[in-house]
């Protein structure tokens, strides 16, 4: 994917006002700085205004960034995070969409709300937590450039005092640094997460997806308000009732039995009364008698849904019980 397309896709998906910034160490460009600046300032200018810069140590106005970006070795003790060994001669930063080189690192600045979505998506793509190291110092240079480069991992930074004071970062902004490979992997996996497949575009229930999957695995298919499935030549409907406050702790299984006309159905209600006792229920509806089995979960639906095997066993057992009663009812009603 071209950098232009990659950038467009990333910005559109996360609705980011600032462009991701490409960072290349020791590029083949010559320094072109008008005057010394902070590294974090260059990154934000590239993100906000589309400027590109190539700079050497002579163009830097922040000693911390000199260390973090590997222009110099520390004189005393160790410094973390930093690029080491300190063999950096020059660095080019430019908006990713107009990058003419393959970046080592991509730096993304945005509001906490927008970068939260980046984190959520990244966690889904990688199947793991987003582990970050930050201390509010050496932020854009160390936490978001040196760490992704040296440790090949994504890192989040809350920025540092210098960045916020001198480099025009807004109070709500934070910054992510990506190894290039991870940035590409994330962007290529982006697709608009549809919360619903319904034709009307509406979300029609709040059933936990784990529960829906369990029910589908049992052999049902999902409709708008209920599930249906064929079991031993009988079509069974599964419905999840809610109480007045919207809580669910039971499941109902339904088989509507059809009669020639409303009078015939009426006559068979006597059989239904004799045969179907709690938790079985029945309901006369015109020329149909609905036979219903109430399965009490004895706990909130969400909790029950987490106990997959127990839930499946309850429903499977319910299906057997319901089918048995329907068979007996049909036999008696036919007589």
């Amino acid at each position: 994917m071209e950098y232009t397309e990659l950038t467009k896709q990333f910005r559109q998906f996360f609705e980011l006002p600032l462009t991701p910034v490409a960072v290349k160490f020791n590029s083949d460009r010559e320094p072109d700085m008008p005057h010394p600046m902070r590294y974090c300032e260059l990154v934000r200018k590239a993100a906000a205004f589309g400027n590109s810069y190539t700079f050497s140590i002579d163009d830097m106005s922040c000693a911390s960034a000199e260390l973090a970006l590997g222009f110099t070795e520390p004189l005393y003790g160790e410094v973390y995070p930093r690029v080491k060994p300190a063999d950096t001669e020059k660095i080019t930063v430019s908006p990713l969409d107009s990058s003419e080189f393959e970046p080592d690192v991509v730096v993304v600045a945005g509001s906490a709300g927008k970068l939260m979505k980046v984190a959520t998506t990244l966690a889904k793509v990688r199947g793991d937590m987003v582990n970050s190291s930050f201390k509010g110092e050496f932020a854009v240079c160390g936490e978001c450039t040196a760490i992704p480069l040296m440790e090949n991992r994504v890192n989040l930074s809350l920025l540092c005092a210098g960045a916020r004071m001198f480099s025009d970062y807004r109070s709500e902004e934070i910054v992510f640094g990506f190894p290039m490979e991870t940035f590409v992997e994330l962007t290529q996996s982006l697709k608009e997460d549809s919360i619903t497949n319904a034709l009307c575009g509406c979300l029609m229930d709040d059933l936990p997806s784990g529960l829906v999957n369990s029910i589908l695995d049992l052999g049902f298919t999902k409709g708008t308000d209920h599930f249906t499935g064929r079991f031993k030549d009988e079509i069974i409907r599964l419905y999840i009732p809610k109480d007045d406050s919207g809580k669910s702790s039971s499941v109902t299984l339904h088989v509507p039995v059809k009669f020639r006309d409303a009078e015939s159905a009426e006559v068979s209600t006597e059989i239904a009364s004799g045969l179907l006792e709690h938790p079985m229920e029945w309901r006369l509806r015109d020329n149909w008698i609905d036979i219903v089995l109430l399965i009490e979960l004895n706990e909130p639906l969400r909790r029950a849904a987490m106990k997959g095997e127990k839930f499946n066993a309850l429903v499977n057992n319910g299906i057997d019980v319901l089918l048995d009663h329907v068979t007996r009812f049909r036999r008696k009603a036919t007589k």
């Binding site: 034709l199 298919t221 308000d225 499935g229 007045d244 109902t252 339904h254 509507p256 015109d286 609905d290």
Partner: protein, 368 residues
């Protein structure tokens, strides 16, 4: 569906401002030539309400009523089968919604007493009754006709203004606003009044009309401009001039006439339901026998056919199209809705036969 007269009118008045040449009162509902002001009065009488305005769709009518009656932070009680635009009208007006539950599978009935329970619940929790109650007279999912009169009575008892959404009722079946105890009634011109889109109506009583159709009081601070005849919630003058309002006018006599035949229409729907239920696994959901022409069916065997058909769920759409029946959403096979309104008995029989023929073609058992 437009009437033949409405089709002609839509063409003749297709230009955006075609009814505005003789507008001397600065609002579309007051135009005398063509006689839109008479139409306004006639429709109010037809619905047995005191006053009506045209709106840019039923959704606009709901929004407008809510906007003029509630304040941000208030609560609206609505039925849990309400159209999504009822929820969005509340959201746009920054009011909370509290839903009246339905009875669940397979009837999905709204119990009017649920409104009383929710009114009390809202009062307990907020210290005041809800600012508005909204009921969907006929829901779009199962075609159930809600007991609007009972809800109207409860609203009067609790002193809660009552908005009835008649998108699927007024214009096709008799609706008497006063009898139902309605304070606001919204309708869909393009859905049930044989008019072209976008057109809705908001009807109210003289108790509420000044508040709901409140006139503009804003003045330009520099120019001194004012718009004192323009109604705030209707964006001054509802944008329905031209084809929408004139196709409504052209269809109105037919609409008045057709609601007299509602019982026959429902009979046709019941006939279709009975015929389709001869197919194994076909089952009409919602209240039985249906009280409306909109009927929802579940049809698992068609879904099973779709699984092995190279056209997948689209097979049903294509099979029906081959038989010159259109309207079913492409891809639907597990469940679908049919509306028999406006079809002759012969046409309904043709549709029923087509479904039975398709079932037999795919070896789905059909009762004799």
């Amino acid at each position: 569906m437009l009437t033949a007269e409405a089709r002609k009118a839509a063409l003749e008045f297709a230009d955006g401002y075609s009814v505005c040449d003789y507008c001397f009162e600065s609002r579309v509902d007051l135009v005398q030539n063509p006689p839109i002001n008479n139409l306004t009065a006639d429709i109010a009488e037809f619905l047995n309400m005191d006053d009506i305005r045209f709106t840019a769709g039923c959704r606009h009518a709901k929004w407008a009523a809510m906007h003029m009656v509630t304040n941000p932070g208030d609560t609206v009680v609505l039925d849990s089968l309400a159209h999504y635009t009822s929820y969005l009208a509340a959201e746009a007006n920054r009011v909370k919604v509290v839903e009246v539950p339905h009875s669940g599978y397979p009837e999905f009935v709204i119990d009017p007493d649920g409104y009383a329970r929710k009114f009390e619940e809202v009062e307990r929790e907020t210290g005041s009754p809800p600012a508005l109650a909204l009921l969907t007279h006929v829901d779009y999912r199962y075609g159930n006709v809600a007991d609007a009169a009972a809800v109207g009575k409860i609203c009067k008892e609790y002193g809660v203004p009552f908005l009835l959404n008649t998108a699927y009722s007024s214009g096709v079946m008799p609706v008497d606003g006063k009898k139902l105890g309605v304070d606001f009634l919204c309708a869909s011109g393009h859905k049930s009044w044989a008019a072209s889109a976008p057109l809705g109506m908001l009807a109210t009583t003289y108790e509420w009309n000044q508040q709901v159709f409140d006139k503009s009081t804003i003045r330009g601070d520099w120019s001194g401009r004012g718009f004192t005849k323009k109604e705030v919630a209707l964006f001054g003058c509802s944008p329905v001039f031209g084809a929408p309002v004139m196709s409504l006018m052209a269809s109105f006599p037919a609409v008045v006439e057709r609601v007299e035949h509602w019982d026959e229409e429902v009979e046709n729907a019941r006939y279709l339901a009975a015929e389709l239920e001869r197919i194994e696994g076909f089952h009409q959901m919602g209240v039985r026998p249906t009280e409306h022409t909109l009927v929802a069916f579940e049809s698992l065997p068609f879904f099973e056919v779709a699984a092995n058909n190279k056209k997948k769920g689209y097979f049903l759409y294509h099979e029906l199209k081959k038989r010159k029946i259109i309207g079913i959403h492409p891809g639907m096979s597990k469940s679908f809705k049919l509306n028999t309104f406006g079809l002759s008995r012969d046409q309904v029989e043709y549709v029923a036969d087509a479904f039975i023929e398709i079932a037999k073609k795919y070896d789905i058992p059909v009762e004799d």
